[in-house]
């Protein structure tokens, strides 16, 4: 019987039913969200994730139950809220996706390329193992305070790097993250844009990813969110769990520190 079940269920109830809306919405979709209520299909994906965590897989046919997410082997509850963080075995700062890739390759013997190739659902697919794992792991931090580790020098330099990446303008459109996420109360078309340089904006955004996206019918991770934003900035493809992705997530989580996790969220 999975140890985390009951605490998971409690966290699920708290997480899914603390409805979260990006604070900067100017009410355009309040009626829509109110009618949507809080019945979040992510609940199914969370159960999948838990099952996958305990199922032996990969060439070594080993489960992820001994994977260390930063709080000790197999400790899942509360782990997501303290990421990204430095891992001495990997010698680098990792987000949840880089950390899962590390466990999948070292514990299960899978090849990194294969893990990365199947990380995110392609069009028409209905959720990958990684997306389900991240949904469950994030749910296990639901309601807990966002507290990314910043004690290690590399964790602090990840934050500084994240900030410089946040303002890095390049590509045919000269876009950077700041183009859209540096001001409060702005939007692209009807899409509210959180100001990620502020505590409130960063907390509202960081706490609600991963999220069930109604437009795709699946749970999407923060890593995917970074990649897809870069795509729309007209940049090349961001590698899952890469240094740039982790640094940007560190910038977000530190800016949002003190907020409370409420993932998986329910989003467009």
């Amino acid at each position: 019987m999975s140890k985390g079940f009951f605490s998971g269920l409690l966290a699920t109830l708290v997480g899914l039913w603390s409805f979260t809306a990006i604070s900067e919405t100017d009410g355009v979709f309040d009626e829509y969200r109110e009618l949507m209520g809080d019945d979040n299909p992510a609940i199914f994906v969370i159960y999948d994730g838990e099952e996958i965590w305990f199922t032996p897989a990969g060439p070594k046919s080993v489960s992820l139950a001994q994977c260390d997410l930063g709080l000790g082997p197999g400790v899942v509850e509360g782990a997501y809220a303290q990421l990204p963080r430095y891992f001495s075995d990997a010698q680098r700062v990792q987000d949840i996706e880089a950390r899962l890739e590390y466990c999948m390759t070292h514990l299960q013997g899978r090849s990194p390329d294969k893990v990365r190739a199947n990380a995110y659902s392609q069009r028409g697919e209905l959720g990958t193992e990684l997306e389900a794992l991240v949904a469950w792991i994030a749910d296990q931090s639901s309601g807990l305070t966002i507290a990314p580790a910043q004690a290690h020098a590399k964790e602090r330099s990840a934050y500084t790097l994240g900030e410089s990446l946040f303002y890095y303008r390049a590509g045919p459109h000269d876009f950077s993250c700041a183009t859209c996420h540096e001001q409060t109360g702005r939007r692209i078309r009807l899409q509210a844009l959180p100001n990620l340089t502020t505590h409130q904006g960063a907390a509202a955004a960081y706490s609600t990813w991963p999220a069930y996206r109604v437009s795709q019918g699946i749970v999407r991770t923060m890593g995917w969110r970074m990649r897809d934003c870069m795509r729309q900035q007209r940049m090349p493809e961001l590698i899952m769990g890469s240094e740039a992705s982790v640094a940007l997530q560190t910038y977000l989580s530190v800016n949002g520190a003190g907020g409370s996790m409420a993932a998986p969220g329910l989003k467009r």
């Binding site: 019945d39 299909p41 609940i43 199914f44 159960y47 999948d48 069009r123 028409g124 697919e125 019918g217």
Partner: protein, 103 residues
Amino acid sequence: MASRIRIRAQLKDDYCEVKALMRHPMETGLRKDQSGAAIPANFIEDVQVVHNDAVVMQAYWGAAVSANPFLGVRFKGGAQGDVVKIIWRDNQGDSGSGETTIR
């Protein structure tokens, strides 16, 4: 195989409110996958809500019902502890069911 239906049954002043989420892609047959091939139509056609073996709602759905469909139903005469069961069948002959007790 994780659960494919979540049901909540709550007694309100003079009716029992049932809320359910079903895990189903509800494919219209018009969507294409990454390689450009059409994804075949696959959607729930029938849903039955049963209270103590009596049907309190019979729904027929088309492909326009959203993915991972939600259903809200209200019926009279439910008591705490009664069993509410939901069964769905889709156009490919697959089916799913689940039940809960009224709170």
